[in-house]
């Protein structure tokens, strides 16, 4: 099909461009590298959340997978001696995905507030397990060493290289999710949110669709958690505390749920807001975030991406 292959190329092209721009910016503004890397990692978790939000489901439990991915990396390094970045990230993603698949079987039967509360319960269960577990560091967590990457020796990964790797991983993820959202399965989300009964009557299984979205969301969050563990160098059970999931939720809402770029826009915007708030009103940065959330809900329910799209469209038209 000509049209769909054109779209596919378009997706790849745009994702590639975005990644290159990001890398260029990062190299140029090196002081921002660390902040942006963490933001991008959180953006991955928020991207997973976007998949669920499109189906009409709010999860307070993405932190569970973020934390699982981070701890998978940490544990693999300490106990299995794996130091190379690629297998570590794979491990983070896959272990998070497995947990998500397991819980997804159960959670795909719930909706609305019960889904939200159940996801909250599960992430707090992980928190409870980790915090009292001295083997995994208890409430202090533990430190994560710097990984190696192919030919680069362990620990030789510079901040800049880490940034580039993160940008590439994110770029690939965006491309993959954009393509997914163009498939019949990916397009089903908004329809399910509108009218799940009709979806069933057209022959699709809403439960199965939610299951896959949930598993994918968990995988993305796990990947983000893995990336975070390298960048920050330390992981602790707070990653599973409900407020972490709350932050992902905020990022998703700030960015919007329109496409796969939106949560990253939200994540970077959040870091910007946070930095500015710290600078000017250090005691009130949570107020700034809370107020921003309310403002977005009232005035810009489509998130920042809706502004971005309007701007892109008008400049394409001939501004």
């Amino acid at each position: 099909m000509k049209v769909s292959s054109m779209l596919r190329q378009q997706h790849a092209l745009i994702a590639l461009l975005a990644t290159l721009v990001l890398i260029a910016l990062g190299i140029g503004l090196s002081s921002w590298q660390f902040v942006v890397v963490v933001a991008l990692a959180k953006g991955l978790a928020a991207l997973g959340l976007v998949l669920l939000l499109r189906c009409g489901l709010v999860s307070f439990g993405q932190g569970l997978y973020y934390c699982a991915g981070a701890y998978a990396v940490g544990m693999a390094m300490s106990y299995l001696g794996i130091r190379d970045l690629v297998p570590l990230l794979l491990l983070a993603t896959v272990s998070a995905a497995l947990i998500a698949a397991l819980l997804g079987v159960l959670l795909s039967r719930y909706r609305d507030i019960f889904f939200a509360i159940l996801t909250l319960a599960f992430t707090m269960i992980l928190y409870g397990l980790l915090i009292r577990n001295p083997v995994l560091g208890g409430s202090d967590g533990f430190n994560v060493l710097s990984p190696g990457f192919f030919l680069l020796a362990d620990g030789a990964l510079s901040r800049r290289t880490m940034f580039i790797i993160t940008a590439v991983v994110v770029g690939v993820s965006i491309w993959a999710v954009q393509r997914y959202l163009a498939t019949p399965m990916g397009r089903l989300g908004p329809a399910m949110k509108d009218n799940e009964i009709r979806v069933e009557y057209l022959g699709a299984s809403a439960r199965r669709n939610i299951f896959w979205n949930y598993t994918l969301a968990g995988a993305l969050a796990g990947l983000g958690g893995g990336l975070t563990s390298f960048s920050i160098g330390h992981i602790d059970p707070d990653l599973a505390f409900w407020t972490t999931s709350g932050e992902f939720l905020f990022i998703a809402i700030l960015g919007g749920t329109r496409n796969a770029y939106a949560p990253f826009l939200g994540a970077i915007a959040l870091e910007l807001i946070r930095s500015l708030a710290f600078q000017y009103v250090p005691n009130a940065w949570q107020i700034v975030i809370g107020v921003s959330m309310l403002v977005i809900i009232i005035f810009l329910p489509g998130g920042l991406i809706s502004i971005a799209r309007l701007w892109l469209r008008s400049s394409a038209r001939g501004g």
Partner: protein, 298 residues
């Protein structure tokens, strides 16, 4: 062999505290169908106001026995003002949104209030332990319990019974029960549901603040106390059934006993056990053990 009665008494005391803290949350959900995440911030604020009042009082060398009155006053005044300000100022603009958006709105309010607390009182913890120790303690064999626990127990029982009587026998209480059961029918009956929202929210806020105020003497009052309390309160009301008063009591008892037994016998699973029970109840019986309102079938 002293473990078992110790665990049970601890469990009941903790359950009383849980009930006090959670009952406002379930009331608000029952009437307004809003899961109020800001509840944790109201609790925190109550604790801080109490710390301030009692702090001044004790510094002024007045009769320390009046500090208990101050605790109550702190809870009521703090909850009243905050409840009115939040409901009128912010919450009511979002009533037309769906449940999950409202959840996010209350989360935003929670964040805002957390910083408000930090701005007013700073980040250093406040300690007002005198009311806690003042009443002395009692012994059961080798076990030693501060008598202050009875204040919490008493407050829990009073608020529970008081609310139950109010809902069952007073006219506004009965109307509230109609609203809890089915909002559309109550509107069709001419009940001014929005006015009841304000009253309910304020009542819930007062109860939360009261919980914080009465807890203040037993802890070190710091900005973070709200985030943990809110999930515990969630667990309690979910287990008991969202919107159900007897459910909150049962949920509190279950969580209290489970936690207490965990602490005494398997301390590693303390937190895990509470949320595990919550998850199990949600899976097996999502409406909770005492479902308050029947789900409407289309």
């Amino acid at each position: 062999m002293l473990m078992l009665p110790a665990a049970m008494i601890d469990g009941i005391m903790y359950a009383a505290w849980l009930f006090l803290v959670a009952v406002g949350l379930t009331l608000i959900y029952g009437v307004m169908k809003i899961l109020n995440l800001a509840h944790g911030a109201f609790y925190t604020l109550g604790a801080y106001v109490a710390a301030t009042f009692v702090g001044f009082w004790l510094a002024g060398d007045y009769n320390p026995y009046y500090s208990y009155l101050l605790l109550l006053l702190a809870g009521v005044i703090g909850g009243l003002i905050l409840g009115v300000v939040v409901e009128r100022g912010i919450l009511r603009r979002f009533y037309k949104e769906d449940q999950v958006v409202l959840l996010l709105v209350t989360y935003a309010i929670f964040l805002i209030l957390e910083d408000v607390v930090k701005m007013i009182w700073g980040v250093e913890p406040y300690i007002i332990s005198q009311p806690y120790g003042l009443l002395g303690s009692f012994n059961i064999g080798l076990l030693y319990y501060p008598n202050y626990n009875f204040v919490i127990l008493g407050a829990a029982i009073l608020s529970g019974v008081g609310l139950a009587l109010f809902l069952k026998f007073t006219r506004p209480g009965k109307l509230l029960r109609v609203v809890i059961h089915d909002r559309e029918i109550s509107m069709a009956l001419g009940i001014n549901v929005q006015r009841y929202f304000l009253v309910t929210f304020v009542a819930g806020s007062i109860l939360a603040a009261l919980g914080g105020a009465l807890t203040a003497p037993t802890i070190s009052v710091a900005p973070e106390i709200g985030v943990e309390v809110i999930v515990l309160a969630f667990a309690v009301i979910v287990i008991g059934g969202l919107g159900s008063l007897p459910g909150a009591a049962l949920g509190a008892l279950i969580v209290g006993l489970v936690r207490s037994f965990a602490v005494h016998y398997f301390p590693e699973v303390e937190l895990f056990s509470i949320y595990a029970v919550m998850a199990v109840v949600l899976i097996v019986r999502p409406m909770g053990l005492f479902a308050a309102a029947e789900p409407r079938k289309i």
